[in-house]
């Protein structure tokens, strides 16, 4: 029987790998996801056939079914399935990042709980296990630490994205020293735990430290960097799940966790690359906390010119080419459908319309693509940074909707700017720039944008959805 369980786990592992491979293209991605879900179901069913010593895991040593355990299993599964499916169905597309953060945190919490449950068991049948106690102890302790950090860290990320907590970096004096202190304490506790037998106080002390570290590491990170944080914590949870696979000697956990740990790390580094900042700067930089005071650079003094939807419609009426630059503002206002409507009207009038999607526009890579796809914008009209930048000088109107830092020319010219060096969309090179924005507030990086002071830039103040809808309606 046990061979069959291992074969089932192997099939699960293959479905996970195939799923990630199928994610290469938008056409096959959905099949990949369903395949992985099927593989997951198989792994869970297979687990019910495991043995605990010489009897089925479903029965106690007297051969009776463990009714309480089974009842709890069914209840937890039903509650979790209903709540998970309901919240995932109900969530708005714009709130996806925090949803992922929440689910990721729960995964991390599950890993930490498994570590807590396994810890006392390590010492009971130690001699019967093929794996040395030291390794099982080390992986248990590490999965506790990483899972705990991932749990509270993700919850803080969720709070920031949901705007229950301030999106600004929250910093306090001696913060890095205190974090370093926590980390050193954690390492000391790990050494104590590895060199002794079962010791509950340091074990739970380590859990407390892990939970605290998750909070204190993520609080100082600005909301703009949350996607990177979630991606990193996603990788953490994967690693922790893989480590739990060491403890339980479970191949499904080992492979699933290893895959996610590695792929999450690559994705995180990709995201950092798009922002042209090393990962260490994202995690420890408290980006945007003290830069808000910086004014626009001295090269661009001027005044802000605002416009109305009616006047903007006239500008669009005489344009031949338009590039739309969506940002988080479009996402929060749920403006993707009216943007698409505007684009369709323009196209009906023979205007060439393209969308320029910055890699870190929104709160996650690909966030804008998902939203525009939701509004039925054809895939071929979306261009990424490298493809579109050459087109701006030949463009009549660049319409920036709720994007800020990703179009800030300071990233190219102002060495003192915190975003200096980040690749940006060169909207300032278009003949006219229309920026639809709620107000003059700086973007998530907390810095002023000199673009808004340029003579060829017009500000269209207001909520993206109602403003763009108005613009589309007067554009006849």
């Amino acid at each position: 029987m046990s061979e069959w369980i291992d074969i089932a786990y192997l099939i699960t592992a293959v479905t996970f790998m195939l799923a990630l491979k199928l994610m290469n293209g938008p056409k096959t991605a959905r099949h990949g996801n369903l395949l992985a879900a099927g593989g997951m179901a198989l792994a869970i069913v297979a687990t019910l056939f495991l043995k605990d010593g010489d009897h089925s895991i479903l029965r106690n040593s007297a051969g009776e079914l463990k009714n309480t355990n089974l009842l709890l299993l069914v209840v937890a599964t039903v509650i979790g399935s209903v709540a998970g499916a309901w919240s995932a169905r109900r969530v708005q597309m714009t709130a996806m990042p925090q949803m992922v953060a929440l689910f990721n945190g729960l995964g991390g919490g599950a890993v930490a709980l498994v570590a807590v449950a396994e810890y006392p068991k390590l010492f009971t049948h130690a001699e019967a296990e093929a794996m040395p106690l030291g390794i099982r102890l080390a992986t248990t302790v590490l999965s506790l630490l990483i899972g705990g950090i991932s749990f509270t860290g993700s919850m803080i990320a969720f709070g920031k994205l949901q705007e229950r907590l301030s999106g600004r970096p929250i910093t306090w004096t001696g913060q890095k020293l205190i974090n370093l202190g926590y980390l050193l304490c954690a390492i000391a506790l790990i050494f104590v735990l590895l060199n002794n037998g079962r010791m509950d106080p340091p074990f739970f002390g380590l859990l407390a430290l892990a939970l605290m570290l998750g909070v204190t590491l993520v609080l100082p990170i600005g909301g703009a960097d949350m996607p990177v944080v979630i991606s990193l914590l996603n990788s953490f949870t994967g690693c922790a799940a893989g480590l739990a696979g060491f403890v339980l000697g479970n191949t499904a956990l080992l492979i699933g966790g290893g895959l996610v740990g590695a792929s999450g790390l690559i994705l995180t580094l990709d995201m950092c690359k798009a922002m042209n900042r090393p990962l260490s700067n994202v995690i420890f930089g408290a980006f945007g906390s003290n830069s808000a005071a910086l004014g626009p650079s001295s090269t661009a003094q001027g005044s802000v010119r605002s416009t109305s939807p009616e006047d903007a419609a006239i500008i669009f009426g005489s344009a031949n080419s338009v590039i739309i630059v969506p940002g988080y503002g479009m996402a929060v206002a749920q403006a993707q459908h009216v943007v698409k409507e505007l684009a369709s009207k323009l196209q009906a009038q023979g205007v060439d319309v393209k969308y320029a999607v910055h890699p870190v526009a929104g709160r996650m890579p690909g966030h804008m693509n998902v939203l525009l796809a939701e509004a039925d914008v054809p895939y071929e009209q979306l261009y990424d940074l490298d493809e579109i930048n050459a087109a701006f000088p030949e463009t009549d109107v660049a319409l920036v909707i709720g994007a800020n830092d990703v179009v800030n020319p300071a990233a190219r010219s102002d060495k003192s700017s915190p975003i200096y060096g980040m690749p940006i969309l060169d909207v300032d090179k278009a003949r006219t720039i229309i920026v639809c924005k709620r107000g003059m507030a700086p973007g998530f990086a907390g810095i002023e944008n000199e673009l808004f002071l340029r003579p060829n830039c017009l500000m269209l103040f207001g909520n993206a959805k109602s403003t763009i809808a108005k613009l589309a309606s007067v554009l006849e």
Binding site: F16, M17, L20, K21, M23, N24, G25, A29, R30, G32, N33, L34, A36, A37, M40, I44, T47, L50, D52, I57, N60, L70, A76, G80, S81, G84, S87, R89, M96, M99, V100, F103, L106, A110, V111, L113, V116, A117, I230, N234, A241, G242, G249, N250, L254, G256, G257, L259, V260, G261, A262, G264, A274, V357, G366, H367, N369, V370, Y379, D384
Partner: protein, 96 residues
């Protein structure tokens, strides 16, 4: 399982993870993150084992929570990913 077998499996999985992800277009990064998020919900397997092996109230509670969190991670993760990907599949201007 022997230690070396376990390490081999883990290391190979890590390398597959590195390779497979390198080819995913940026457009699909959000669904990808979401999908990998669902996949690490495989910790649910660990939760199930813990819950079924538990024999006192504290162990049962820990196991119950682990399964609950794991199920939320798995079901929520896959459903969210599916919703995102559903949008990519829709044909442009198929509905009038």
């Amino acid at each position: 399982m022997t230690l070396i077998a376990v390490i081999t499996i883990f290391v190979l999985a890590v390398f597959v993870g590195l390779e497979v992800i390198a080819k995913v277009p940026q457009t699909l990064h959000t669904p990808l993150m979401s999908a990998t998020n669902a996949i690490h919900g495989v910790i649910l397997v660990g939760g199930v084992i813990v819950l079924l092996r538990a024999d006192e109230p504290i162990g049962l509670t820990i196991g119950f929570l682990a399964v609950l969190f794991g199920v939320l991670n798995v079901i929520g993760g896959f459903v969210v990913t599916d919703r995102m990907l559903e949008m990519f599949k829709r044909k442009p201007r198929s509905e009038k």
